[in-house]
Symmetry: C2
Subunit: 195 residues, 2 copies
């Protein structure tokens, strides 16, 4: 096992995965067809269901990630949760189109790893990764750019998410989730509280 993988642990697909996305953070979505790989940031990603975890993500027609996802037979994509440390990479991935810059991933500083050797592009330096299969809903995709995925595997860095709970205070500011407003402006997640 690569040293990089020491803290990256598979997590429960139901409650654990649900809690990952509940904060409403900005995500990075990646997809590959084996030949081409792309990744883009998306602020519009949301839980849809639990047991099994389903989610929605809005993907504009201009992005190559969407094109790859739509032509890829398995309909597989990865939702990863970046953090303050990875925010510049995420923001760059959301600002540049692979249609305009064929070397987009390199120019954005995006590096990937493949925890299971299945050829899945996991963006390095994130808090968590959710592997999804597209549930095809052609009308939603065409009319609203709205894609529905079902989680088939999920992983998290145990320094910030232990499979059940976030540990932002212990992990430090670099690990806080990012929440995009517009034009380069973000907020990071803040203090936890219980009611």
């Amino acid at each position: 096992m690569a040293n990089y993988m020491k803290h990256i642990k598979p997590i429960d697909l139901n409650e654990g995965t649900l809690r990952l996305l509940n904060l409403g953070e900005t995500i990075v979505i990646s997809a590959t067809d084996g030949k081409e790989t792309d990744a883009m940031a998306a602020a519009w990603c949301c839980n849809l269901d639990m047991n099994p975890t389903k989610l929605t993500v809005v993907l504009d027609k201009t992005h190559k990630t969407r094109e790859i996802l739509e032509r890829q037979p398995k309909g597989e994509f990865i939702i990863q949760i970046p953090n303050v440390k990875t925010a510049p990479v995420a923001f760059a991935l959301g600002s540049v189109s692979a249609h305009d810059d064929p070397d987009k991933l390199e120019h954005c500083g995006a590096k990937f790893f493949d925890p299971e050797g299945l050829g899945r592009p996991f963006l390095k330096g994130c808090n968590a990764w959710i592997v999804c299969r597209l549930i095809p809903e052609p009308q939603n995709q065409k009319k609203y750019d709205l894609f529905i995925g079902e989680a088939v595997a999920a992983w998290a860095d145990d320094r910030v998410f232990d499979g059940r709970h976030w540990h932002f205070r212990k992990a430090g500011r670099a690990w806080r989730t990012i929440h995009y407003v517009q034009g380069g402006r973000f907020y990071m997640i803040g203090r936890g509280f219980d009611l």
Copy 2:
């Protein structure tokens, strides 16, 4: 004009409204048919489009708010953005069903105002309010509990959102948006940063 309304200002339906929901915060949705009013918290609400602003919200079949919304001819509902100060009301509205407790709103401490005298139930003490009309998509509603709305009016408290920008640092902790995890656990939004 009631003194309560002094800081509550209409905001631009496009960019302004978009920025309200981009943080991925937990919201409260309310609906009325003139006879019955209900409100519930929802962590699964997300922007869907801009110009005009559209959004998605997941509403479980067990909630009376959904029942009212579905039978109400205008398909009107209000998405409001609670804050740390209003979090106990939001959490209670998400925990109790009006089917079990007919006096739910009173027991949850939910108080409403009506800025234009149109009978719309705006929950007091929130950061912002987005009035939406349902875009009926019966298949999404039935299969995924997924509702699509288009914003027709929006208001914000200018002590925390001036129509373009959030002012959390100036407004103080009580005004920070809330992001639900599970089981009474929330995070508040934290520091802003620019890239």
